[in-house]
């Protein structure tokens, strides 16, 4: 069976759609949550074979655990989203959301604050995507985890790309005025990427 793939032009178009949704609605939502200005950068979209997924691991994520929120959207399009940052950064982020000056081990409330951040940011992103591409999506309940980036990605990758053995991935980085950094990784399989481009 021939593997489904996307052309350079299709990847470019998808990149434009994601950039538009992230750089407007998602950034606004994060800025409102944190109560401070946020800037973002959106990386290149690429098709990865399962064997190449290690290339998605950022250098800083090699040696430490990440605190992460992951969720899937289903409906017209199936997409996975992973929000992640180093564990210590996650604690600082949660402390900021809760108006705390100090942070220690992750409490349930702090975990909840990060899960809801993922939920809200995804709501903004997929709301924008639904309007842009006329597709309906249903959100899963977000999951929170602290683990290596590789383990976090593998879990999502298998769920999303098991049939195609490949993934389209797009990464974004958000940087707040108080120097909080959050990364977002969007993954979908080629078939769903094609569907998204056709405007459901």
């Amino acid at each position: 069976m021939q593997a489904l793939t996307l052309t350079g032009n299709e990847l470019g178009r998808l990149s434009e759609v994601f950039f538009k949704c992230i750089s407007t609605k998602t950034v606004d939502a994060l800025s409102m949550l944190l109560g401070e200005p946020v800037r973002c950068s959106v990386g290149k979209i690429r098709l990865y074979d399962f064997a190449e997924l290690d290339e998605l691991t950022p250098a800083f994520a090699d040696s430490e655990d990440m605190s992460a929120v992951y969720l899937r959207q289903s409906g017209d399009i199936q997409v996975g989203v992973l929000y992640y940052m180093p564990k210590k950064e996650g604690k600082r982020f949660a402390a900021r959301l809760l108006g705390k000056k100090r942070f220690g081990a992750f409490t349930k409330l702090e975990q909840s604050s990060l899960s809801e951040t993922g939920n809200i940011l995804s709501g903004s992103f997929f709301g924008a995507l639904a309007k842009e591409q006329n597709c309906k999506t249903n959100a899963d309940v977000p999951g929170f985890a602290v683990d290596t980036f590789k383990s976090l990605l593998e879990f999502q990758a298998v769920e999303i790309g098991i049939t195609s053995q490949s993934l389209i991935a797009c990464s974004a980085e958000f940087h707040s005025e108080s120097d909080l950094k959050l990364r977002m990784l969007i993954i979908l399989d080629p078939a769903n990427a094609k569907k998204l481009l056709v405007k459901c």
Binding site: M32, L109, S122, G123, A139, V141
Partner: protein
């Protein structure tokens, strides 16, 4: 208008969102008592036993979502004041909720000023 004698029920599976809403309610002096429920099932039970003056109801929850809980509460009390809480402008869900009897809706992330206004407005309604 002084709402200090009012009772508000906050229904949301995320403890963080319950904390944020409680903060907004207290900051605006909207209630003397705030009850919490973690899902739709608990929310309906809390409505029956506590008889709050206002309910904020999250849409996406496990074990009975906001629409299911709203439907049940409106059956118990057609005059119930329920404000839906959604994480995105989900027009269809909001329309469904308004048809079922919800009074208004608020969107996450919250604009605190707007949320206070909406809660105050609905509390003043009959």
């Amino acid at each position: 208008m002084n709402h200090s004698a009012k009772k508000i029920l906050v229904v949301d599976d995320a403890s963080f969102m319950r904390v944020v809403l409680k903060d907004i309610i207290k900051g605006n002096g909207l209630a003397s008592e705030i009850i919490e429920a973690v899902d739709g099932v608990e929310g309906v039970k809390a409505y029956q036993t506590q008889k709050p003056d206002l309910v904020t109801m999250d849409v996406n929850m496990p074990r009975a979502d906001g629409i299911q809980a709203l439907r049940a509460i409106m059956k118990i009390d057609p005059a119930a004041k329920v404000i839906m809480v959604t994480s995105v402008e989900q027009k269809q869900i909001v329309q469904d909720a308004m048809k079922l009897g919800a009074r208004d809706y608020i969107v996450k992330p919250f604009d605190r000023g707007n949320v206070g206004l909406v809660l105050n407005k609905v509390l003043r309604q009959r």
